[in-house]
C-alpha cells in the first residue's frame, strides 16, 4: 500500500492548480492567435499531470499503473492523429503523376 503523503504537499499542489486556473483564464484574454489553444491545452495537460501524479498517487504506484495511464492517452492520440490525418490531407490533390 502507499506511503503517506504529507498534507503540505497536497496543499501545495492545490495551490499550484488554482494558480494555473487563473493563469489559463488570464492568458485567454491575450490574443496569441493560434497559440491560445496551445497554451490553454498545455496548462490543462500540466494540471492533469499534477492531479494524476500526486492526488492519484501514481508517483508512488507501480510501473504497471503508469503504463496503463500512458496507454489511455496514447490511444486517444491514435484516434485523433489518424482521424485528423484524413481531414487535413483531404484537400491536397496530387497535381499529376506520382509514380
Amino acid at each position: 500500500m502507499h506511503s503517506v503523503t504529507p498534507v503540505r504537499t497536497y496543499v501545495l499542489i492545490w495551490l499550484i492548480l488554482t494558480i494555473m486556473t487563473g493563469v489559463t483564464f488570464w492568458v485567454s484574454t491575450i490574443n496569441l492567435g493560434p497559440w491560445n489553444i496551445v497554451v490553454a491545452l498545455g496548462i490543462a495537460a500540466f494540471k492533469m499531470s499534477l492531479v494524476i501524479w500526486f492526488f492519484m498517487h501514481v508517483r508512488t504506484d507501480n510501473p504497471l499503473t503508469k503504463l496503463f495511464v500512458f496507454a489511455g492517452f496514447f490511444w486517444i492520440a491514435i484516434l485523433l492523429a489518424m482521424t485528423l490525418g484524413d481531414y487535413f490531407s483531404r484537400t491536397w490533390m496530387p497535381g499529376g503523376k506520382f509514380w
Binding site: M93, P94, G96
Partner: protein, 331 residues
C-alpha cells in the same frame, strides 16, 4: 442451362490492371494456402499418434524461422500495397480533357445529366476512348456508384461533391449498381452503363430531346430565382460578378481566400453566409437550402462554370448565350 459467369467483363484499362493485380494476389494466396494445407496434411499423416504412450521431443522454436516467415510475407504484401496504391492514385485524378457527367443519387434512383442538357435515369451513355469525369451528389443518404465492368466505385456522400473518372474502351452494356446500403429499395437502385463508339454516341446525343444545355437550364434557373438581380453579368452588383470567377481564388470577408470550385459554388447557394466575398455584406442573399434539388444546383454550378474560367486562356468566354458544346463544360 442457366448462365454461370466466373469472371466479370473488363471494359477499361483500369479494369484490366485490377484484374492483373487480383490474379497476382490470388496466385500468391493459392501458393500460400496450398503450402500450409499440404504441410498440415503431411504432418497430420506422418506424425499421427502411433501408440498411446508415445511422447515426442519438444522443439521450442527458432528465431531464424520466425524472422524469415515474418519478413518474407511482409515484403510480398508490400508489393500488393504498392501496386494497389498505384491504381488508387491513378483513379483519383481525372485527366484535364475529361468529359463531365453529373450524377445525383436519390432514394432509389440515379439521375444523370449531361452538359448538353440530356438527362437520364439509371442509364449512363459514354463514348469509348474518352475520359469521363462523374461529379457525384446525393439528395439524401450515402449511396455508392459502382460499375463492376470498370472495377470502380465511389461513395456518394450527401453534403458535398465526390468525383470519379474512367475511360471505357470496350463497347457494351454493363451493370450499374448502388453499392452502399441506402434503404428499402437499395437493390432496385441499379441501372446500365452503355459504352458506345464515338459516332453512335453523337447520334445518341442528338436523338435525346433536350431543353437546352445544362448551362442554359442553369441560366434559366438563375433568372427565375432572381439571382441575376444582384449577380450582374457586366459589373459588380449587390453580389459579386460571377463572370470569369470560376477557378479563381476570392478574398473572403473574414480573411483568407477560397478557391471557387463546384463545392464552393454549391455552398454559396445553400449557405450564402458561410464564406462571404470581401466587400460584400452577409445576410443579403437568402439561402436556397431545401428549395433546390441537387440536380438544379448542379445546373447552376455548370452555368457559373460556363461564365468563364479564370485560369483558361481567353476567359471570360461568352458562353452564356452559345450552347455549350456537348463534350465539355470547360472549353
Amino acid at each position: 442451362m442457366p448462365e454461370l459467369p466466373l469472371w466479370p467483363e473488363a471494359a477499361s484499362k483500369v479494369a484490366t490492371d485490377v484484374d492483373h493485380l487480383y490474379i497476382y494476389i490470388s496466385l500468391v494466396s493459392v501458393v500460400m494456402t496450398v503450402l500450409i494445407f499440404a504441410t498440415i496434411f503431411i504432418f497430420a499423416v506422418k506424425y499421427r499418434r502411433r501408440s498411446e504412450s508415445e511422447v515426442p521431443q519438444p522443439i521450442h522454436g527458432s528465431l531464424r524461422l520466425e524472422i524469415t516467415w515474418s519478413i518474407i510475407p511482409f515484403l510480398v504484401m508490400l508489393t500488393f500495397f504498392w501496386w494497389g496504391a498505384k491504381i488508387y492514385f491513378y483513379n483519383a485524378v481525372p485527366p484535364p480533357n475529361s468529359m463531365d457527367v453529373y450524377v445525383v443519387g436519390k432514394q432509389w434512383m440515379w439521375k444523370l445529366q449531361y452538359p448538353g442538357g440530356q438527362r437520364e435515369i439509371n442509364e449512363l451513355h459514354v463514348p469509348i476512348g474518352q475520359p469521363v469525369k462523374l461529379t457525384l451528389a446525393s439528395e439524401d443518404v450515402i449511396h455508392s456508384f459502382f460499375i463492376p465492368a470498370l472495377r470502380i466505385k465511389h461513395d456518394v456522400v450527401p453534403g458535398h461533391y465526390d468525383t470519379m473518372w474512367f475511360t471505357a474502351d470496350k463497347p457494351g452494356r454493363y451493370h450499374l449498381f448502388c453499392a452502399e446500403y441506402c434503404g428499402t429499395e437499395h437493390s432496385g437502385m441499379v441501372g446500365w452503363v452503355t459504352v458506345m463508339s464515338p459516332a453512335d454516341y453523337q447520334n445518341w446525343l442528338a436523338g435525346g430531346g433536350s431543353s437546352g444545355s445544362m448551362a442554359q437550364q442553369g441560366e434559366r434557373l438563375f433568372e427565375q430565382l432572381g439571382c441575376s438581380g444582384c449577380h450582374l453579368l457586366d459589373r459588380q452588383g449587390r453580389g459579386p460578378m460571377l463572370r470569369g470567377m470560376y477557378g479563381s481564388h476570392v478574398q473572403l470577408a473574414g480573411g483568407g481566400t477560397a478557391l471557387v470550385d463546384d463545392a464552393y459554388i454549391r455552398e454559396s447557394i445553400l449557405n450564402p453566409n458561410a464564406k462571404i466575398t470581401a466587400g460584400y455584406k452577409p445576410n443579403v442573399m437568402p439561402s436556397f437550402q431545401g428549395q433546390l434539388s441537387e440536380e438544379q444546383i448542379l445546373q447552376l454550378v455548370v452555368y457559373v462554370k460556363s461564365l468563364g474560367n479564370a485560369n483558361a486562356p481567353g476567359a471570360p468566354a461568352a458562353a452564356s448565350t452559345a450552347a455549350a458544346p456537348a463534350q465539355g463544360g470547360k472549353q
